[in-house]
Symmetry: C2
Subunit: 277 residues, 2 copies
């Protein structure tokens, strides 16, 4: 039987295999320097951190371990956001039956040490993030472990960090918002029929059409993010072919990474609830 | 750092991701009932067995554990032959620097208990195999654990089983022949340049053009196996497009599975020797 760590790894693999997921690497779309194989190695590398989380290691340490392992390939950041979403879910699943309440509790109980682990993860890989809010410059995540004294001085937990980021980062919003979109998307995956990777591609498009992707907003601003949402809606209603949309997004360097991360989280929840592959 | 178990899992993933590999499932070719996602789940499931092998568990037990985990998906047999090839290689890599001599020793030292583990693996999944040689009916692998008393009575080790099968099964031939094709193919992977999955597809075609696939011979006879070899040679020389050959083989239900298994073994050896992904 696959345990939570194995299901989290499989969720990462199924997510990247789902095609077409316009704007993201999948098994039929990749970039010269960020390839499908980097995501395979990233998923394998992250598993040690998932195993730690399932066994009850602290959230921050498990996350840092997973990111350090993920980074052991030459493509750079492949699954940072997905792993941030998965780690508390895996830790919750390792303790009791997985539920939004249990996952919520894992984040709510996080400590300053967990925040330090989260920051240390940035030492291992370069991640695109938005500028910190005013007054939070010493806590800019890009400082990585250099932010340690600022975190300690202000007594900031991982939950505090996520709360501060929730309005501009969709994954942080999940962590402090009861993982609502993740669990809803897991229900959709179970409702749909056919190959799991096809379901993942459908749910990706549905999520993208429902809310602007925060990663696109960070990289291109709110107008582009709104347009991307509109285009996803047109793809869902059949006005544009998803494959054409994939080409369009790649040409414009648009990468709705946050939405793909939610799909990975949803796949994990569905697998824990015995979705059959 | 990825250890031997993680490298073996990644080898399975990179193998199935390499495209086109005419006649085998890859990330752009699958069947309605045997899909890319089944291979992803098969690789994740096998890892527990690889971990056991790397930690020094007996060959038979590690193999059975890997197959039991591999079988936890609805596609049936995905990677039996590849796991048979990988398990002694992983065990060797777990003890010392990986070499043909070390891998050879692991197989040569195998016991009756290892043969039992090998047979028990057939309880978990249905595998296409040839009829046993005359006098070996009680040792038909398809009997699975029911063959136990016959194995014990005749005091047969796993190496004995492989030696008996080597003339008709290319993976058995590797296990008792110093893993020659596997290590040679690993050298080729390291020599080539570009994405690892592209190299895997090239080496697959080279191997297929060099020797008839024994799995094709079991399923379709020697004439078809020879034709498949000829066609692979034509694909290598540019007389037929590999993608067209993929369609041709799928239409004729030709599956050169043994050759894909060797590629998985070669990817593992190359990763252990620090091939970068």
């Amino acid at each position: 039987m696959r345990g939570p760590a194995e299901n989290a790894e499989l969720a990462l693999l199924l997510e990247v295999a789902g095609t077409p997921k316009p704007g993201n690497v999948d098994r039929e779309h990749e970039y010269a320097d960020l390839r499908f194989e980097h995501f395979l190695a990233g998923a394998v590398g992250a598993t040690k951190g998932f195993q730690a989380a399932a066994a009850g290691a602290s959230l921050g340490r498990a996350f840092e371990t997973a990111i350090e392992g993920m980074a052991e390939q030459s493509g750079g950041n492949t699954q940072f956001g997905a792993i941030l979403l998965l780690t508390p879910l895996v830790r919750a699943a390792g303790q009791a039956a997985l539920s939004p309440a249990e996952a919520d509790r894992v984040v709510a109980e996080s400590s300053v040490a967990d925040a330090l682990g989260f920051y240390r993860a940035f030492d291992h890989v370069s991640v695109s993030v938005s500028e910190p809010p005013e007054g939070w410059e010493p806590l800019d995540v890009r400082r990585g472990s250099n932010a340690e004294s600022a975190i300690r001085d202000r007594d900031i937990s991982l939950a505090d960090v996520m709360t501060r980021s929730a309005d501009r980062d969709g994954i942080a919003a999940e962590l402090v918002g009861g993982f609502e979109r993740t669990f809803d998307a897991a229900d959709r995956l179970a409702e749909l029929s056919g190959p799991v990777t096809d379901r993942a591609a459908t749910v990706y498009l549905e999520l993208l059409a429902a809310e602007p992707d925060t990663f696109v907003r960070i990289q291109h601003g709110p107008t582009v993010a709104a347009t991307v949402r509109d285009r996803a809606e047109e793809a869902l209603s059949g006005d544009v072919a998803p494959d054409d949309l994939a080409t369009e997004f790649v040409d414009q360097d648009i990468n709705p990474g946050m939405t793909a991360d939610i799909v990975a989280g949803a796949l994990f929840v569905a697998l824990e609830r015995e979705l059959e592959v």
